[in-house]
């Protein structure tokens, strides 16, 4: 099993994701330069956080036209796993691999802080090792994480269980105060219809070792490994 971490010009959480997968968890992992077109070696891809192309124009908008993205579409069609973290999520939205778009945080500031998240759906290849409704602590760090989608789209996401993570308070309630950026329905992470593309604003790779204050993020990667190993949850 091999993970690939895509490196766009301006990616800056690439080495963090690589470190967790390779050094902390111990699964084979390689960087994938954004001009690469052959992804056949990999079973799972990480689109990491950062500022691809400086996040100029709109976050993720320019990265979407990187050569690797053609292959990413095919990779997704083949049912392999793709996780987009922060900027990676923004790229997935711009690329149309997930629905919706990101607006500026309603606080109009970059926000780096810990948040509480409720795991809404554990029947995904990215969250199968969490308990349903479990509240986890994960950091965010972004300026544009205010998720927006048209009402019909939101309704469908909710109805089909595709809202995977939601910002909540310490006791698990999705309150306005617990929403750090104004995201619709307190959405922090969503999955595509097929269930193999996951985008989230929080950074699980920043909380996968106890020395960093929480290991709550590690199970995202472990879930991916488990579902790749067992083939469960993969259509």
């Amino acid at each position: 099993m091999k993970f690939g971490v895509v490196v766009f010009p301006g990616s800056n959480c690439d080495s963090d994701a690589y470190h967790v997968i390779k050094d902390v968890i111990g699964v084979d992992c390689e960087y994938v330069w954004h001009e690469t077109r052959d992804l056949s070696d990999f079973q799972a891809l990480v689109l990491p956080g950062g500022f691809s192309y400086g996040d100029y124009l709109r976050c993720g908008a320019l990265a979407r036209f990187s050569p690797v993205m053609d292959s990413v579409y095919r990779f997704v069609d083949e049912g392999k796993l793709v996780i987009g973290i922060c900027n990676g999520f923004q790229i997935l939205l711009e690329a149309g691999l997930l629905p919706g778009a990101m607006l500026s945080n309603n606080v109009l500031e970059f926000r780096c802080q810990w948040v509480n998240l409720r795991v809404e759906n554990t029947k995904t290849p990215f969250t199968c090792l969490y308990e349903p409704g479990e509240v986890i602590r994960v950091p965010i760090a972004h300026h544009e994480g205010n998720y927006y989608a048209e009402p019909e789209v939101l309704e469908e996401l909710e109805r089909t269980g595709r809202v995977v993570l939601r910002y909540v308070d310490a006791s698990g309630n999705p309150t306005a105060e617990a929403n750090p950026n104004g995201a619709a329905h307190n959405i922090a992470g969503i999955i595509n219809e097929k269930g193999n593309v996951f985008g989230l604003m929080p950074h699980p790779e920043r909380c996968s070792e106890s020395i960093l204050g929480s290991r709550d993020g590690r199970r995202v990667f472990l879930s991916m490994i488990k579902s790749l190993e067992t083939g469960a949850l993969l259509s």
């Binding site: 124009l57 908008a61 939205l93 919706g100 607006l103 989608a149 104004g182």
Partner: protein, 89 residues
């Protein structure tokens, strides 16, 4: 021929524009009570070569659709004029 295209991009009506709201707040605090609404958009000025204005406009439309505006949240308008030599911008 050289053309100067301007693609104006703005948030669709109905989508809250926090930046616009903040600017409105600041303007009010500065004493501009007359302000009713503020919306902030982008103004992308592109100098380009084309056979004629029609072709220029068509190219700009394509750029706007594919890249410059996000169809989920943004609307755009394209304007083209011939580049005046030595124009200020």
């Amino acid at each position: 021929m050289k053309f100067k295209g301007t693609v104006t991009v703005w948030l669709k009506e109905g989508i809250f524009d926090p930046q616009g709201a903040a600017v409105k707040g600041s303007l009010e605090a500065m004493g501009f009570k007359e302000v009713e609404k503020v919306r902030i958009g982008k103004n992308i000025v592109i100098s380009l070569d084309a056979e004629n204005a029609l072709e220029a406009k068509d190219l700009l439309e394509q750029m706007a659709r594919k890249l410059l505006a996000n169809p989920v949240t943004e609307a755009y308008r394209v304007h083209v004029e011939e580049e005046k030599a030595g124009a200020e911008r």
